[in-house]
Amino acid sequence: MTQVMDRADDARERALRQRVKAGYQLEDPSEMTPRYRDVLVNTMHIAADLEVVTLPTYSPAIRTSPTLDDKIAIASACQDELGHAQVMYRLLEEFGYDTQSFLFERDPQEWRTFQMLEFPHEDYIESVVSMCYGDRAGYITTVDLEENCSFAPFARSLRKVNFEETFHIGHGERWVRFFWNLNEKSRKRVQQAVEFYFPLCAAWFGVPDEMKKRTDQLAYKIRGASNDEMRQKWLSQVVPFSESLGIRVPAHYDEESGKFVLDYEPPIYLDEKTRTWDYDRQITWEEQFKIWKKGSRHKVPSITRLHHEVYGEDLW
């Protein structure tokens, strides 16, 4: 998903790649080469956008949460996510970003969002399923950045982020378990929400490694693990969790390869309106990229809502 400008691969670039490979961490933008800077800023830019779009995604569930505690839990998760965004804005400002225009004046279509966070939650069960499966996918990517990112200030800033994400995942797991055991109706709803989210979360990690053309993120050690490695880590957590409860998921452990594998060949067709996947209908990667680039039908309205929400003196 990264869009890095083609830059000359001069000796300085190669030297920096070698230094970070040996474990060197950069502390200051003045140490960066143009290519390093591009790929780092791009990574932080996407990370910031993804934190913010959790707000219009999760907030509708505040209204439909069954108890006051649940409402507080969702609101508190939203506050955490906006805190994470603020930390990233602070970093981006060091690279010439203006937070005000970045957040409030940028064309919603220009936002770099991922499909997993483009569908406003219809109820609380969807929110807890999303925390259990989706926040875990996000957490795996941000933990990888914290542990491996060669730009030390970004790695450090993620300590707080990851510490808080563990609460969201724990909250999701507890309540998925609760609703799975509550009654027939809630169990059915959990299964339905998992069926919608599972392929979205599996796609969170991006295209399969063999398709990846730009590898600067790994070459400059902005992150440590490849798309497939992170996807495997996610599967190794969610498949056993789901199976322990009896939730059906389209993936299994393959004894022969010793790996978790998907039961379908991505990309597959998603009916956005009914929120159902057609496992028998494969689409091409070109079609998939087009869908990802455009965003779901909720993307622009959700971000527009952020731009128009009353605040400050206007609120009163």
Binding site: V87, L91, R156
Partner: protein, 90 residues
């Protein structure tokens, strides 16, 4: 989901940010009296009061024993030759 209001938010940098140039504060905190007072991050704020509020709301991952904010411009980096030892962003 509620319909977006007809009017887009307007931003008054004087009122919201206290000026056209952002001001930064570094945030330090410790979890217990045995702990070091450590740099936990930074915030942008127009004045000392709002800096405290933002630091408290953004860096709320622990129930800190002590937290303080320092205007970034008040920090004098001690340099060894060309090596910068200034407070880093986060």
């Amino acid at each position: 989901m509620s319909e977006p209001a007809a009017v887009r938010k307007t931003f008054d940098p004087e009122r919201e940010r206290g000026g056209l140039t952002p001001r930064y504060y570094e945030v330090f905190a410790r979890k217990s009296s045995d702990d070091h007072l450590a740099h936990v991050g930074s915030v942008e704020a127009p004045n000392d009061d709002l800096a405290q509020v933002r630091a408290w709301y953004i860096y709320d991952q622990h129930s800190w024993k002590e937290m303080c904010v320092v205007p970034t411009e008040a920090i004098i980096p001690v340099r060894i030759g060309k090596h910068s030892t200034r407070i880093k962003m986060a």
